[in-house]
Symmetry: C2
Subunit: 347 residues, 2 copies
DNA sequence: CTGTTAGCGCATTCAC
DNA sequence: GTGAATGCGCTAACAG
């Protein structure tokens, strides 16, 4: 198909019609027009009609920027989040969107690709876009930045990260790790492996919290910690598969594996399949996150209510905006164990 | 952890410091302050210093809303897209974000959950949030709505949908369907099945275009169309798997299947595995989309450059904004055949 | 180079 | 009820 020829259809920018045009056309004052625009009851039905038809005929639409300047609110909230590459961010974003959709607020998003950008957004934000409130997902601010947010005066809530000075919505990762491990223990397992991220360089600390939960659940029932059962690796499925193979080739292999994420758990499932190890009869596997795919594989996992964390964070922000709450405050999203069919008592 | 007691730390809203405060403190006029704020060269180094320190001391940050009202631009662009549930939307959004990140523009997103909301956004937008330009993903406007966009005066570009009056970035789905089918033919296949969405109720018409491409490639080499090889079903993997099983149980089963999406292709792979049919030696499978997972399964597929479509759409919008182009104009995203290992000559 | 002023479009007093 | 005036914070045009 040929490129469409560039027709100079574009008309000269006609000066936008303002509230004054409407007032003139309706033969009333601008104040009156403003009143009908804002549903102010103190305007007679007759003049309201006049104004309305004038608006109609002029195809007038009020300028929100001017309105914002006048009332001092923007009716938009901002969200800072990491590059949209992980399903978990999307899921939280959807939660945010869900509550915003039924409000009068708009959402402007700031994606951070790299640490430099993160700092730029964290410290220089109010210059760019005036927002009434701010949501920050999975990006922990340092003390200086947290202070910046509080001093800037714009209400801020952290989702999936934590700071003593700010409002936040977090999952109790220690408890999550404990839940998963306990479940395995209750099924009768004692040889429980843990497959996780590299703990030393935590992008954010959830992974090591889950690990703490794992350790603590073990201690509760006095199962000695076995270093051979602890594996660190990349977050993707492939490396989890490789790691799992090592794990399952041990002289005394574990009867259950707790993976710090569903992606890893799926890798483990594959490794087991390749090694002809039956799940769950010979090996139990539990994941973390409850991503969509996990349902497809019937993976037992910890559901950390990603969507709901977005919802809760946004509601908390609204509470801040309406002075029904003030920082700091902290809320935990509920954790649910989804017992599906990759876990069973040990052989 | 106990809920943190609500400390009334929040100070009374101190009146925000304005450009006038800075002017007063620096003992200059507001114009001068504005000039240094906007890097206007005609300011002596000395006074610039004064102003800068005043800004520093007052911790002043200019009000972007006021600026926007004054200059008549918002430096934000809006994007309307379907509920963020499919990876393809995300991928396009990432492309958009990618080019916006290196610009001075912000992004406000409008997610549409249902048709009613779509119409609301399409017709009532300028009231909500003033944006300098608009991106619309995968949601085809009707003639009335298209007209609304052109008359509203805000530059608009459609990504992954099409309208004769507007600028748009689309994939050539007919060609994509043809590419996939031809590839199979060139490998030597003649019994080629097509697995797709329900064509009658197309949410958007891409699927039927791909089908057209499939048919046309068949005709080119005079392979008669076999209705038994045409299957319609839901978009998910499971139903594709069920369909594929039927297909492969035919008396004269196809030697290759072209799936209208990667999700379906993966379902087919599973069906083949369950039926002990070897891929690609006994059955070739080709998908469409090049989602991430496809790489993992080494699926041969058509890459329709989702990310790039976001990039191109945004660049086109910028061209509109700077008058380097005017509507209508249409661009095709490149299509690439990713020949991986689920395709081979027929047995 | 720099201070002053007039809008940007709307909401909101305050009188009438 | 309704019109006129004032201000939101900033930019830009105009004097000086």
């Amino acid at each position: 198909m040929e490129p469409v020829p560039i027709t100079v259809t574009k008309m000269k920018d006609t000066p936008p019609t303002t509230i004054r045009d409407v007032a003139r056309k309706a033969k009333v004052g601008v104040g009156t027009v403003s009143r009908v625009l804002n549903d102010n009851p103190s305007v007679s039905e007759k003049t309201r009609e006049k104004v309305l038809t004038a608006i109609e005929e002029l195809d007038y639409t009020p300028n929100p920027i001017a309105r914002q300047l006048s009332v001092g609110r923007t009716l938009t909230i901002g969200i800072i989040l990491p590059y949209l590459t992980l399903p978990s961010y999307i899921e939280r974003l959807r939660g945010v969107q869900h509550v915003l959709a039924s409000s009068e607020y708009d959402l402007v998003i700031f994606c951070v690709d790299d640490p430099a950008q993160k700092n730029a957004y964290f410290q220089d934000l109010s210059r760019k876009s005036r927002v009434d409130g701010m949501l920050i997902v999975s990006l922990p601010p340092d003390d200086f930045q947290a202070d910046y947010f509080t001093r800037s005066g714009i209400p801020t809530v952290l989702i999936d990260s934590d700071h003593s000075k700010l409002c936040c919505v977090v999952a109790d990762d220690i408890e999550g790790g404990r839940m998963a491990t306990r479940y395995l223990i209750e099924l009768g397992h004692r040889k429980i492996a843990y497959l996780t991220d590299y703990l030393e360089t935590p992008f954010h600390p959830a992974m090591s919290y889950r690990y703490q939960g794992y350790r603590s659940a073990l201690e509760e029932v006095e199962i000695p910690y076995n270093p051979d059962y602890f594996m660190q690796g990349e977050r993707d499925r492939e490396s989890a598969r490789a790691l799992a193979k090592k794990l399952l080739s041990l002289d005394d292999p574990p009867s259950a594996v707790f993976a710090a994420s569903d992606a890893r758990a799926l890798g483990i499932l594959e490794a087991a399949q390749e090694m002809k190890i039956k799940v769950p009869s010979e090996l139990s596997v539990i994941g973390y996150d409850a991503i969509r795919e996990s349902a497809y594989y019937n993976l037992t996992t910890i559901d950390q209510s990603l969507f709901d964390s977005g919802v809760m964070g946004t509601q908390m922000l609204f509470d801040l905006l309406t002075n029904r709450a003030q920082p700091p405050c902290k809320k935990h999203v509920p954790l649910k164990l989804l017992a599906r069919s990759t876990t069973a008592p040990p052989p």
